[in-house]
Each structure stands twice: as C-alpha cells, then as structure tokens.
Symmetry: D2
Subunit: 344 residues, 4 copies
C-alpha cells in the first residue's frame, strides 16, 4: 500500500447526487454500482457507510475481492449476518475495522488509560445512558431509521451499541443481560403514503441490566425520548479506588475521582482533555481549545491508515461487531423471554 | 390536641444515654421501656425512630393504645409486617405518617407542582440512582445495617425505598419490576468477635427496571459502592413537554427543561429553589440562602403537626409504606426468580 | 463565666414585637431600652444585631460596662466610628467579635487550610463577586438599606465587606485600591410619602481593583443588579501551585485545582465539604448531607463561646472591622478622586 | 471575483518550511517574499497571519496594490499604526476584515440575538475574564510573545483584545477605563543566550474597570497566570430583564436567565447551541454533536467570502481594530497615570 492514501472513488446509487459529492469532497472518480467498485484493481480499501441492511453483502464481496474493509456500526442487521461477515474477512485475511468512533475521543482514551493503570481499582458499577430526543414529536415521520427491515433496530442498535462497545473497551465482557423496550409512539405519518400512518417497527427506548465477567454490575439505557437531551452519551464507572464520568455533549472533558487524593480534598476532577500529552490532542489546537465531534471520525481514519501502514489488525474490528451483536441479541431475547439471558 | 406540641418523653434502652439526650434536646422526661411510654395518658403521638426490626411491635401497640403514630422509613422488615401495621392503625383509626422526608424538600415539591401543572406532559422515563460509598473499604466492620435480621435489607431498603417513594409521589404506581443485586464484599470484620469475620447478609447494591401503570419506563439503582458519591439521590424525568433533574447533594436546586421555551433558547434551567414563593421556603432565609438536609425533617414534622391540627390523614402514611414494601418485595422476588414480577 | 450560655434578655424597641420574639425564641426576659440591658449585672455578653447606625453607641456603652461584645457586620457607619469602637473595647479589655459569618463555613475553612499548607503556592490573583438582584425592579421601594444615613453604604457595605473580610482572611492585607460605583435607579417610591419618590443615597454596585501586600492582584464587584443571581458570593484564587473556587449558592462545595496532580489528570476537583474530618462538619450530618446558610451563624456563635471559655480574643474582631472599614474608605476615596488610594 | 475561492499562494520566509506547508495544506504555489506576492495580478485577497510587528507594512502595501485584506488580531503594535492601516484601506476602497474569530461562534451569535431582541433589557453589568496559564512556570522561556517589540503587548493584547471586541459587539462602546497590570515573573531564560535570563517586557496580567456609553459598568481581566484555566474566555452580562453567561472552554453552550419565565421556575438555562436553527450550525452536525474551536475560524472565512461575494464591507474590520486599540491605549495610559482615561 502506498504511503499516502488516495481518495479514489465515491459510490452512490443516484448519479447526479454522487457526482456532486465527488466534486464537493474531492474524490477522483464516482461510481453508481458498488459491485463494479469492488471489482476494480486500483482500490485497496472499501469504506461502507450505507444503511445497515446492505453491510453484509458489501463487506463479504469486498473481502472476497481481497480488499481491506472499514464498516460503519452497527455491523449487521443481526448476529447471523455479523458472523457471516466476520467469517468472510477472516477467511480472506484482509484487515477489517468497525466504526465505533467514540473509542477515538481523547477523553475516552484517557478513561481507558486511567483504568489500565489501576487508578479506578476493581470495578463495581458501570451505568450508561445514550439519550436523544429527535422523535418525541408524534408527527415526526416514519423515516427508515424507524423501520426494522432497514435499520435492524431502533434506539438499541443506533445508540445502545455505542455504549455496549465502550463498556467492552473499558471494563470487559458481558456475562448476562436482562432488558425491556418500549415504542411510545406506535404509528407515525408515512411519507410514502400521503395522509396515512404506518407502524413503527423498532424500539423507541431499550433499557437493560447486565452482569459482567469481572463481577461488575451494569445499567444501560438507550432512548430517543429524553426531552432536552440531544446527544447525551453519559457513563459513570465506580471502582474500589476511583470513579470516572463522561458526557458526549461535553466530549472534551472527563471527570475523575480518586481515593488516593488527600482525604479532606477528594472530589470529582473536571479534566479538560486538551493538553498535548493527551491522546490525539497533539495533532490539534493549543491547551483549552476544544475539538468537535467530527474528530472522533478523523482520529478513527488516522488510526485505520496507521493500522494498515503498520500491517496490524485494526481495533475495534468485526470480532467486536460480532461481540456487540451477541449482546444485542441477548438483550432482545431477554426482552422477549422476560428473563436473564447469557451472552453466548 | 393542644395547639402547641410539647416534647414530653424521650425513650431509649440505655438510661444514662437517654437521660443525657433528654437534657441535651429539651425533653421533659425520659423513659427506658417503650411499652410504658405507650401506656401513658399524656402522650398523643408516638415517633418511632428505631432500627427497623422493632417498628411493627411499637406501631401496633401505639395504635392499639389510640396514639397517632409517626414511623421512620422503611416501614417494616417485610411486607407481612407492613400489612399488620397498616391494619392496626386503620382499625384504631389513628393518624399515621411515614418518614419519607424527601417529599418535604422544596425542590421536590416544585417538581411535583410542575408535573401536576402539565409542564412535563406525558411521562416516558424516570431514571434514578441513590449512590453512596461509605462501605467500599473491605475493612469497614459488620455493623447492624449489614445484617438482614436487623436491617431487613441493605442498599435496597435503606436507599432504594427513598427513590421508590419519590417516583410514586411524582409519577404514579409501579406495574412490574425486574432486578439484580450484588454483595461485593461478602465478609467483613465482626466487631462482636475480635479478629474474626462475619457474613454480610444484605445487598451492597440493587438495580432494577420498572414498567409503570402510566406506560413510563423506570431505571433504578441503589448502591453503597459508588466511590466518590456521598449522598447522591439523583433522578431525571423525561416527558413529552419537558424534563426534570434533581440531585440530593445539591438539594436546593431543580433542573427543568421546557419545550415551551423559544426553540432557539431551550436548555435545562438551573432553578435555585430558595424564593419565598417556593414551597416551605417562606419560613426560611432570604433569596439564595440555601437550606440544609435536616430541613427535610423539620418540614416533615411541621406538616405532621399541621395534619393533626387540621384532622387530616398525613401523607405519606402506612399505605405508602405498604406500597413501597410491595415494590421492594416484588424486586426481591424478581431477583430470586430471574424474571419480571408484577407489583401486588 | 458559666460553662453553659444562657439566653437571658432579648431587647427591641417595640414591646409587643419583642415580647413575642422572647417567647418564640426562648429568651428568659425581654427589654425595650438597650441602655438598661447594658446596666444589668447578670449579663456578660452583648450581641448587637441592629442597623449599622447604632452599632457604635451600643458597643461603646457595652464595653464601658465591662461586657464582652459581639457585633454584626459592617462594624460601623464609617472608619471614624469603627476606630472609636475599637478603642473602647481595647481600653475596657473586653472580648470583641465581628459577625463575618462566612469565615465559619466549612468550605472556606478548607480553603484557608489548603492555602496555609502551601497547596496554592504564591498567590497571583483573587477575583471575587458578591452578586444579588433583589432591587432590580425600579418599583422596589426606598427601604432603609438604600439610605446612606442609616445603612452607611449600599452594595459595598452590605456585600463588598464580606468579600473584603474573606480575602484578608485567606490571602492577606490590601495595599492600594481603585474603584467605581453606580446607582442605576436613582429614585424609588418612598414608603413614608405615599405616591412620591425619594432619592437613593447609596451605591447599587461598587467595583474595585486592588493590589495586595504580597504582590497579588484583586478584582472585586459587589452589586444588587445581577439579574438571576440571588446570593452569589463567588471567588477564585490562582496561585503558582493551585487554584480555588467558591460560590455561596453552593456553600457545601469547594473547587480545588492542584498542579501536583499527574499532568494528564489535572482538573478542578469539586470537593463536597461534608466529611467528618472537614471543619465543623463533625457536629452535623453524615457524608454528603449538606448544611444550610444558617450554620455559618451557628458555627460562629459556637466559636464565640469557645473563645470566651478559653479566654482567647475572638477572630475576627473589631480590629478586623477597622481594617475592613479602612479598605472601604479607601475605595470610597478612590471613587471620588478617580485615582488609586493606599489602604491606611 | 470568481465564485469559488482558490488557494493560490502561501508565503513564508523559510523556503523549506513554506514548501512543505504548501503541499500539506493544498496551496497551488508558495512564495518567500511577501512583497512579490502583493505585486501579483492573480491575487485578490491577502490574509495576514504573521506576528503583529509586520501587520502594518503588509496591510498598507496590500491596500495600495488594490487587494482586499484580512488581518489577524490584534490589528497593530499600537494605535498609531492601526490608524495608518485604516487610512490605507479606506483610501484604496478595498475590503478589510479583522480576525476577531469569536464573533463567529454560534453561542456568541445567539447572545447577540437575545440582546438585540431585548431579552436582556437595559444592560447593567458586563464582567469578563480571559484566563490562561501557560507561562506560570518561571522556567518557561522568553518567547517572542513576551517581548514588547514583537508582540506589542502581553495578556492585554493577546487576550484582553478578544474580550474588548466581544463587549463592543454585544453591548456597545467604551467611555472610560481604569486599569492595572503586573508582570509576575520579571526575568525568564532567554533561548537566544544559553544559560542567561532576559527581561519580560510585556504584562503577565492586565485588569481594568470600564464605564460604557450606555451606562453599564464593566470589569475586565486578562491573565496568563490563572493556574488550571487553559482557555477560559468567560463573560457574564446582567440586564434589567435577563442575564447571559459564556465560557470558551464550553463554547457550544450559552447560559441564559430570563425574568420572563414563571417566577417559581426561573434559573440559568444551559442552552446547547447545536440546533439547526442556531447561527452557522446548519452547516455542521446533528443536534447535540458539538463543534470545536477551529470552526470559529472556518465560519469567519465563510463570512469573509460571503461579504466579498455580496460586495459588502466585512464586520468586524479595521475600524473595529482601531476602536479596540483606542481602548487598549486608554487602558495603558490609565495604568501609567493611575487614573481614569476617556476612550478616544
């Protein structure tokens, strides 16, 4: 692979739109048939940013053609598809990466570092919520994200998977889960049938409890009905020696409580994660000059190219996608069965 | 009953200690046998502030003697006892009140008012945590609160019941629950047997999910292992028109988000609940001069006397205690059975 | 002096009102003539809580009668009176204390401790604001606090003196000051003349800059026109090794930044000053159960009695009152002269 | 001018470095002599991002060559130079813009909108601080920013001018100022003379008070010695109807207090300024996905091109630079003279 990545071909079904995008974003060429793209010899890496329902076909085809594959999360419509994708990339021995971009936020990397250094100690609790509110209005239309056949899942797949990945990254593997879901607004105006309503077939909210392999307890909530919360991916970790708190709406900050501080001067420290010594920050602005959400993606792409350049398997990859889908499937089974379900 | 309450008799088992308390706190007399106290004709109201395991006997005896009864929470060791207590006070037609003091915080009263006025709309989510950390040290001794036979329950009974009462007060009745509990430190130094350890027989942490009669979903967590959290009773309510956030460590404040604010100027308002027009505040200090935790109790006693003076049944009372114990029992059953349990 | 203080006599000009207060608050007797009170042999300590314009006469008379004196802040209408008061108490060799109650807040005591331990290092900056908003309405009447002849001063004397005392307590003496004041609403409805307006003769807001003897720079602001701020006494201290932040609307907390923390984990720690090891807290509630504003007064009275019991001169006392009035007078001179004025 | 801006030539003194920059950032050509650049016919717009001491020569030459000019702030080393620059661009009738990038933050634009709509009412107070801490270490070397002949000024010119521009943008013109400055570390290691120290010739901190034409009072502080503060440009505005609070370390948020809210539900609203209806946000990410500091520059360049495309004079421009330098000069005079100085 060459030292400098080239933005060779952008692909979309609508020729006019993809042509415009090609020029706007500086791609060398455009294509409207993804299969043709994959057949090309001058392409080394395929980036799949489509709705979930076509991830599998694209990823499998790309792997079979010997391309490295980057795929947006969630990996697949369901665990079965995810397993097929993993099998394909492993068989083809290509590199594969999954777009859990929040692992690339400096504050979350710092959380990982503090945990790995033992600053939090043995972990007792992980509580996380991913709260949004963009569909609380009952007149909001029945978009594709609200249809199971295209999106695979609602709040759980879209939001819940992010926190599932973060907890796996930070504290380890799930053992058992037990959930509940709700669709608060059951029918919505259907843009494809003027004046008619259609059925919402995904969850508006999913909550679940979890036991982890290391003995910790977890509490998870993913909802699109948290009025006033726009993009609040919040988590708090409590361990025997310290605690951590993060909120995506304040993504340049990490709160850290340490029992190693003097007993009369302990408290949650509000760390502004913008120093040159913090992960990724050296490539950005001076102290205290914050970065935005998009840089979780920028850092991710940087890491992807670094993995390829160094001939290493990217992290997280399709294995993590499968693990995440196992958790999601276990949650769904626990909801249907009304009981605890082991994660594979 | 007389217009002005009199502090007649304080009762305790240790004569020396109760005598000192009598003088220190200004009681007219002291007593070491609670049964004698209840026999006295010059006592109208009994205030039960003992460990939970004697609540039932005292409350039943007091009721049978025709005394009004105030009882600290939790009402009883278990639902059966709670029902006996309720039966006794109802048969005797005495007044009864239960010490869920947080209903008397101005900020929580304001939350109730905003909900009742419809400012929050239809309620979708209630998420609550009561987080403490006073027993995270494995060398902390096996005190009575860690023994089931005296305390009845651990984090669930001590902390969880407070949030159960608050959610019932604010949004309504539980329908079904599903929980998990953990005792992270299973044995602790036993103060009664030098150099030996004894078994912790209550939960260090209990988490549960809930469905409410009004269709809302609830997430609850009570733990004594949240390092760095001292007395964080936190809740967030999301409804179709607004949201509310409260934290007991900042008890003079209530956060309120309203979708009725101009669309470009919406946000969580941080209300300092210290204005004369706020509930109870008129009796306290000027604007912005905060009150402390103890005034939840002061306000509670004021209300108790007012209920008696106006010949009304206090709120909350033993009925609420029974409801709360029904929730707690359902949570415990769900933990044992690993499945959802209907409340009542 | 006896070991246990007795609440002997309460004094007020209106007999009906003072009689009611005597009974309500548990004083043994009442009196309507303060001079008679001071003549009594069975009184050891006089507590002066009147408007400022009578402080001097009362304190001087009390001292001449050999009584210990506690006086509410500000000490006097002006520096001349303050000096007379100091002279009187020193000549009489009585104990004297000044009611700068905020020195008795656990969080401010912790700030003092951290500074004394060298945790902040050499101090560069002290910035403080005391922000209230109770007279922003132009129709708010011309009460006594808005008349110079009774109140002596407006925002400066009422609010500014609190921050002057705190900065002297925490970092040391003033060297030079330079200020500006404004009366935003110049006339207000006069309650004594129906339908008429009277002139506001005190400052609505006073701001001043300061140089300290230790080389630090200070910025001060006292205003009654900070809409939305109810009782925000805020300060931030920056030193070579750390920083401190306090806000009276959150008086149980102190923020502390230390450069001694690991370089990748520095941040302002939010210390909940409610541990048993924190100053005064041992006498109050368990961890995390906050105290209210009134306990700054409770702690102050406790300390006053302790000073008397241990035969020590209370801190702060009339010397501090004189120092504070020197600062205030220098600020006033700087405002009139439009230039820097040395303190003393 | 063409519809699409072209990045034609980048200019720098060091050929190797500028060549690298040309390739890295996508410029068509590079140049090492800025005068040659200005002579070229194919250049319409000059962007001056050098140290302050060469701003004037470049801007005047560019104007004389008929080029539009964008200049980084501060405009010039002193007011005299600033006036020369303004005269040159006005004589040449070219467009000129000054890089006060914070006017382009969505939150500050929202503050402007709320003020213009009358939501804050008559303005009483503006208090602002720009707090950094990168030179608190006495061993930090004597870089060019600490030398008056190159930087013109220290904290005042670098940080103070940003808040001077913001207050002029939001509430209006200065009338009088009165300041103080300090250089806490007077000598520092000189990188150009190994083992020797050189004199710091700029201010480490400047504080000043201000009276505004509209009757408001202002308090300003710019310092590089606020330990723990990395890039805290903070301001609070109090008016008769509301208040606003902003902090650059949380630049996606604006706090807004309105007295028009129900009296029992008033509080500072924490507005996450990330909705599509907020200024500039439509071009960025979905709700709640924050932007970073660099987008103040991106938005500024967008606006610059829009002004040029619409043939309008950019805002802010050199007139604002002159106004800002007038304030700075008045502050400096007030510091030297120890008295109030009128602005202009």
């Amino acid at each position: 692979m060459k030292a400098v990545p080239e933005m060779r071909v952008i692909c979309g079904r609508n020729e006019e739109a993809v042509k415009e995008a090609q020029q706007k974003f500086g791609w060398q060429e455009y294509e409207t048939d993804w299969r043709k793209l994959i057949e090309r010899d001058d392409i080394d890496l395929i980036d799949i940013s489509t709705p979930v329902n076509v991830h599998k076909d694209m990823a499998v085809a790309a792997a079979e053609a010997g391309k490295d594959v980057f795929c947006e999360k969630p990996l697949a419509l369901n665990l079965e598809e995810a397993n097929q994708m993993l099998k394909a990339v492993e068989k083809a021995k290509v590199k594969h990466m999954l777009g859990f971009n929040y692992r690339r936020l400096p504050a979350i990397c710092l959380a990982k570092k503090l945990i790995d250094e033992g600053k939090i100690g043995e972990i007792y609790h992980f509580r996380a919520q991913y709260l949004q509110s963009w569909i609380t209005d009952p007149e909001f239309p029945l978009v594709w994200r609200l249809k199971k056949e295209i999106a695979g899942s609602g709040a759980m797949g879209d939001l819940g998977t992010h926190i599932v990945d973060i907890v796996r990254y930070l504290i380890g593997e799930f053992q058992e889960v037990m959930g509940v879901e709700e669709t608060f607004i059951k029918e919505r105006p259907d843009p494809s049938q003027k004046g008619k309503k259609g059925k919402v077939t995904v969850d508006d909210a999913t909550l679940f409890l979890a036991k982890f392999e290391n003995g910790a307890l977890g509490s998870f909530e993913a909802t699109r009905f948290a009025t006033g919360r726009k993009n609040r991916l919040f988590f708090e970790i409590n361990g025997s020696k310290g605690s951590l708190v993060f909120d995506l709406e304040n993504l340049n900050r990490l709160q850290f409580h340490s029992t190693e501080d003097s007993d009369y001067a302990q408290g949650y420290r509000d760390i502004l994660v913008t120093e040159g010594i913090h992960p990724y920050v050296g490539a950005f602005w001076p102290h205290g000059h914050i970065i935005g959400w998009e840089h979780s993606h920028v850092n991710q792409i940087y890491d992807l190219f670094s993995y390829i350049a160094e001939d290493k398997m990217p992290q997280p990859n399709f294995r993590d996608g499968v693990r995440c889908d196992q958790v999601q499937e276990a949650v769904e089974k626990s909801i249907k069965g009304g009981r605890w379900v082991k994660v594979k």
